[in-house]
Assembly symmetry: C2
Homo-oligomer: 394 residues x 2
């Protein structure tokens, strides 16, 4: 018999992808230039040229047996070393290669992190608004996911609701800063307060509460924004990173898990990652890509377009009467919808060929997500539609 | 608390890899030229040059946003199409692109296949000798794995034991031909008989018993060997393939699941694969590699060395007094150990710096595996050690 869990998931398919598919179909009818698709978080700037140059150099110079051969199950040692060195230089941390596990993107890193520090039935807490895929990710590890309601005035953490929820079954807390969908960066004050609470409650409950920090947008931070490196404030932190957004390689599925060197059982957490991998499809990162990112981990794509787009869009929306907390990074914005029912609002936008994602799937109804990882010209051409939409409400 | 299941797995770590690691350490002491390492199934011939040429061509000609961007969750359509066409031409099958799901190697394909057609608690049956990783693979999907004892005279299927075991909870049967570790290829007679039993029992139990066919060694078949394409004999077949061995890309983690077009619920099986992927780490195949294999799926490495090695080794072992069923493919051989305790036997070999893997981990004690994916010269130089070892017993 086909699997019931996965069959039932078909009912609640990926909403974002459905909108994207609608946009693609619609483009065939009215022309792509008349569709304003802000549904997908797909980088709009290419990988820096050094990425492709490095791929070609590896292919042309390395022994093919070594280049394409099995990697150690933790990842290629040279890559892990270079990433540790890079992190230490950038964030003043003290990672060793043995704290790094190479994974297939942030999702792969999260899959290992969840399974390493929890047991099925445990509770994991995250904060709205949050990435819609956290539900299947944590369900796959047998976890009970609790989503703390958003503080919609700031999109920092709603600490009162969080503290009320924390309990003995909570073994991990999951954060995502810079945040998808809000674009908000947790401040040093927020991270410090979170760390204090986790330290205190770990003591009270008699077991560590691990902090799993999902950081694919870490390199997209706007000017002047207070953006602390999370692991520096709480030693029991597992950092999940992806090269998808920083060097625009989402399809190559390459990232890593970095376990704070002073994390409780740090060595064992890394040691069991290959065991986890054995049970979920031997999903180690691909060899050529591991060798490539080893050499380019200190590069980023030209990410400036995202800040440019943010400024234009944020100012315009404010002028049109939208309410939005200003993003500190990413390429997302999360304004309030102009009617309480954000699905109805997004449907209205869709009728104008403007593709937005309702906040409901991020655990935060009454809002909508704009993924402005598009050429600036597209943002500018979409403004009159945002305005027209606003005028229907205000 | 760290995960109990994965922590306990550390006790029964990958034996093969431990032997390989010992060999690597030992090589530092006595020199690599004095170590005869037959532990790992790592291809010894490079990828055909067309592979690297194709990678470079893709990198140099495709728009980097498309090249490295998110793929559809089923895999890139063009790649799925080309694979379907290739399979149909080679095996007379009638796959459509929609029957193909791109996965991270055969392990990734298996991870999806197991989860698609079973529910946790179901029984899956496989046949000794079998790949040691089937245990964690199926445990990860919550399955009860039953291993049917080997027919050690032929290493075809022990049908009497199989039929006695089949029951209502059996929802899938897993086979691996050409086989790791025996090198045996299931004959047309074996596959036909298996298909007949599965058809009959599916009727009797009132639900399909799916056949999951793990085929990473499908392209390494020796001259004159009867090697049927499994799915042609049983429509409810899910074929799991990897490019690891055929074009020597094990580290690139690229393969696919092909569902027979007439399989019961074929469309739904593929449809739920991306849902499965969401829960086990979004483990889709990397984009550049998908585009590469699309163009080279009709190529293989020069695989002839494996047959050369087989001949030399098989004849020599026979002469020295070993008993071995002659392999029909792969780069493995699975002779009987010269004492009933194959672990003790392999330890004795190891003392002579000859690295062999005891059959116990393949569900078939009393045997040992030789992975002869090494240069022919290494095989030749190892022969006197095999002989010396035999002389201690005979």
């Amino acid at each position: 018999m086909l699997n019931k869990q996965y069959t039932s998931m078909l009912q609640e398919k990926d909403v974002i992808f459905e909108i994207f598919q609608y946009a693609t179909e619609r483009a065939k009818v009215v022309g792509a230039e008349n569709i304003y698709d802000f549904s997908l978080g797909n980088p709009s700037v290419p990988a820096p040229s050094i990425v492709n140059e490095t791929i070609v150099q590896k292919v042309n110079t390395l022994d093919p047996l070594a280049l394409h051969g099995y990697s150690p199950s933790f990842g290629i040692m040279e890559t892990r070393e270079k990433i540790a060195v890079f992190l230490n230089k950038k964030y003043g941390s003290s990672y060793k290669a043995s704290n790094i596990f190479m994974a297939i993107g942030a999702a792969g890193a999260l899959a290992h992190a969840f399974r390493a520090v929890t047991n099925p039935g445990d509770e994991i807490i995250t904060f709205a608004p949050c990435f819609s895929e956290y539900k299947p990710y944590t369900a796959g590890a047998g976890l009970k996911l609790t989503i703390i309601p958003a503080d919609i005035d700031t999109f920092q953490i709603n600490f009162a609701a969080f503290e009320a929820q924390l309990n003995e079954n909570t073994t991990a807390v999951l954060i995502n800063s810079p945040n998808n969908p809000s674009g908000i960066v947790y401040s040093t004050e927020t991270i410090k307060k979170l760390a204090d609470i986790l330290t205190e409650k770990s003591k009270e409950f008699g077991h560590p509460i691990y902090l799993i920090s999902d950081e694919p947008y870490r390199d997209i931070i706007f000017e002047g924004v207070d953006a602390p490196y999370v692991a520096n404030y709480y030693k029991n932190t597992l950092t999940c990173y992806s090269f998808s957004k920083s060097i625009s390689l989402p399809g190559e599925r390459i990232g890593y898990l970095a376990v704070h060197p002073d994390c409780i059982e740090a060595d064992k957490i890394i040691e069991i990652c290959p065991q986890i991998s054995r049970t979920i499809g031997q999903n180690g990162a691909a060899s050529l890509m591991q060798r490539t990112v080893a050499d380019v981990c200190n590069y980023t794509s030209d990410l400036s377009v995202y800040e440019t787009n943010k400024k234009i869009l944020f100012e315009a929306l404010k002028e049109y009467g939208y309410h939005c907390v200003e993003p500190g990074g990413t390429f997302y914005m999360f304004p309030r919808s102009l009617e309480p029912d954000s699905q109805a609002f997004c449907k209205k936008a869709m009728e104008k060929d403007l593709m937005l994602v309702p906040g409901d799937i991020f655990g935060c109804p009454g809002h909508f997500r704009i993924a402005y990882c598009v050429p600036t010209e597209r943002v500018e051409k979409a403004l009159p539609i945002f305005q027209e939409l606003a005028e229907e409400y205000l």
